[in-house]
Amino acid sequence: MQTQIFITFLVIIAAYTIAKWRKLSVEISMFLAAVAGGLFGAITNTPRLSQLARHLVEGSFTYLDVMLIFVTATIFMAIISESGGVNYVVKNVIKYFYNKRLIVLLLLMLITLVPGALTGAGSVSLLVVGAPVAMALGYLGIKRKKAAAILFIVAGLSAAAPPVNIWAMILSAGTAIPYVGFELPLGIPVLILGTFTVLVLGWKKEEKSDLESALKQMPDIPKGMKWWRVFIPFLVFFGLVAALRVWPFSLPIIGLPLQFVIAAVFALLLSPKKINILRLSRDTVKKLTPLLATMIAVGMLQQIMTATGVRGLISYTVISIPLVLLFISLAVIIPVSEGVFTYGGAAIIGIPLVWYLDSIGLHATMAIAGLSLIWPLGDGLPPTALIGRLSVMVSEYKKSYWSFLKSTWLPWVVITIVGILMVVFSSQLDFLVKWSM
């Protein structure tokens, strides 16, 4: 059986490689890899041929909710942008804080951290505040590549930040550890690493700029644009998120997609200029289609890998690594699992890993906190590269994706080291958990 599974794995890799070599897109290549893996597995009825179509359909729905959030959040931000709101915010940030670089960088970091921390999704941070923050970074003399790098790392940290950390929640649910005591183990490293990132990547002014010319370069603000026209739609969105936390038993669950839609309606009504919402929505969905298609294909591939046993083989291989080597290899395993499976990586590798670490006397909550700092880095890795691609998109960096990714190396390495050390010394750091409770 193990040989069969291994060969299926090779078939999936070969199909993906050939499809890419034939210059097919990432999503089509992944779909073909899933079909090839499924067909090969069907030789030994894993899965049965009659079930292959069902597995593909079922897998395609794995990330439906995430896709809906992407679409609605992006349309919301597109309305804000089209109304001139983004330019208005950026112009004012630059106007008032241009010469206070430390403050402006920390302020932009906090603005990026909040949406992701509240929702557990770095993508929400990027979709909601990514574009204005990227623009502000640009006017501060930071090149687009570096701006994309800052957004990618900080958005990733926002997803790891308390109160909502999806990886930690998946691991807690899967290992029967209460999702409590994560505030300090996650909050402290996120703030330190976030500050480190914005200072390392953003402190140096790489492009010549001064306040006057920066303000001149900025696009004109539509007549009638006021701070409250930008502020109210955001207030509506964050108000809805906060209200469901404050009065969870009095309000109905409406979900993030509808929260974004409601905020978008406010943005549309408050826009000082007329917006063709149908055209804007169509253009936005068109822009997002490759990303959405990737999510569908990833779900299919994940389903086929499980049905054929390939996912189990990967999980088995990871937890069979000797301990010291395992700690070192977390630097690769964790981000790669995220790149391939997104949140699924936490279940496939994370759950058995945490059980194993717990059984050898490490502190499970601290270990989960450490691991969930490293997972977001994987959102920059193919085949999914969700946050990476969004970072590049909102900061309008048009050159090679790899050159952007390379520019993140220093915070990437530091975050990885901090995360691994938190796992290794989890027992010694358990006071952070106690202080949080």
Partner: protein
């Protein structure tokens, strides 16, 4: 016609065909009905919605079977399919339902507690849609369900689930998990209504013992055990010791954590007079490092990766080439339920629950699970209930 149009048309046709074929199979799974034969002990059948009207007409409503003894006594509730991807619970509950004779007290059984979850699949996890149990009269077919309710019945999810009433933050998925939504509320999300209905049943029927049957991974420390809060601890310990001594299998006791909310073994005890217990039997199918997720793995629990991990001492249960067959898991559950009733009844004669004609561990392992299921084609029509 250009090559690109031919290519695109072909892709649309292929995707369309795959969608129709796959979608139809998923539709059939959702609407597949499992015949349940009410045994001689069944005296009445209610709907869970009778305890919380908000469930009426929804996919979450489910049958509640009452087996009332001729002599008054205590009441024991058995809940199965809280997690419908842990089928040893359903199979055990059906053995009780189709065979048990209650001499004293009342046995209440809910075989598909999360009915919606039992009609759903776990996207991305490649489960089979059905599994079959061999019986003397042929194979009995069951739906393989999911851990949480179907999004078709409860959607959307919140960005984070705030547990009622403690406000503990839980994973967004847990809003559809009927072992995180206890004690529930009448006007909450659908699964909160399900657990609220069960709490109402427990309170209104004066249930003494509430047993929630589950399965857990072999790599999970809380497996092969009875989870019990402080108030149930004495009975759980006595049950565990007796099962080890008399029937030879391990079923250790795990304390119910006070800081982890929403679980049946915690909230039932805190919000009613009943003594809660949660039974866990190993289910290798749910472990992450396994081969293909096949029906065979689900039923016999044999897996080469788990065997290697067992040799490295990484599992929390003994594991060898024989795997962990379904009959062993179901047998454990049957014995544990009977023993909990016995231990309670010994100390509470007035509220005793006495059950007979249900096999114990050794018999189930010897005869197989299907041996105890009745043939629907030979059963009286009025005794067949579809879940």
């Amino acid at each position: 016609m250009s090559r690109q149009i031919i290519y695109k048309s072909a892709m649309v046709l292929i995707i369309g065909a795959v969608t129709v074929i796959g979608g139809l199979q998923l539709y059939q799974h959702r609407h597949f009905q499992t015949p349940i034969i009410a045994g001689p002990g069944v005296t009445k059948i209610k709907k869970l919605s009778e305890y919380a009207p908000g469930l009426k007409g929804t996919m979450a409503d489910t049958n509640v079977f009452f087996l009332e003894g001729s002599e008054p006594g205590g009441k024991m509730l058995v809940i199965a399919s809280t997690h419908s991807n842990e089928p040893s619970a359903l199979l055990s509950s059906l053995i009780f339902l189709e065979n048990a004779a209650v001499e004293k007290g009342t046995l209440i059984i809910i075989p598909h507690f999360n009915n919606s979850g039992s009609r759903s699949t776990r996207q991305g996890d490649g489960y089979p849609l059905y599994f079959h149990i061999k019986t003397p009269w042929g194979n009995k077919k069951f739906r393989m369900g999911n851990r949480v309710a179907a999004p078709l019945d409860q959607w959307p999810d919140p960005d984070v689930y705030v547990h009622y009433p403690d406000k503990q933050l839980l994973s967004f998925l847990d809003v559809r998990n009927t072992n995180r939504t206890w004690p529930g509320r009448p006007n909450g999300a659908l699964m909160e209504k399900v657990t609220y209905a069960a709490m109402e049943l427990i309170r209104k029927e004066n249930v003494d013992l509430a047993i929630d049957i589950h399965g857990a991974e072999t790599m999970f420390p809380v497996t092969n055990c009875i989870v019990a809060p402080e108030k149930s601890m004495r009975i759980a310990t006595m049950t565990s010791l007796t099962l080890k001594a008399m029937e030879g299998f391990d079923n250790h006791v795990e304390p119910s954590p006070t800081g982890f909310r929403g679980l049946s073994h915690r909230e039932i005890g805190d919000f009613s007079e009943a003594l809660p217990f949660l039974l866990e039997a190993p289910i290798p199918f749910l472990d992450q490092p396994t081969g293909p997720k096949t029906e065979n793995l689900l039923l016999d629990g044999k897996d080469p990766f788990l065997l290697k991990l067992a040799q490295k001492g990484m599992l929390f249960v003994p594991y060898d080439e024989t795997g962990w067959p379904m009959a062993k898991r179901v047998g454990q559950h049957c014995s544990a339920v009977l023993e909990i009733a016995k231990q309670y009844s010994q100390k509470n004669q007035e509220r005793a629950v006495k059950i007979s004609n249900v096999p114990r561990y050794k018999e189930v392992v010897e005869n197989g699970v299907g041996f105890y299921y009745k043939d629907p084609s030979k059963a009286k029509k009025e005794n067949i209930f579809y879940n």
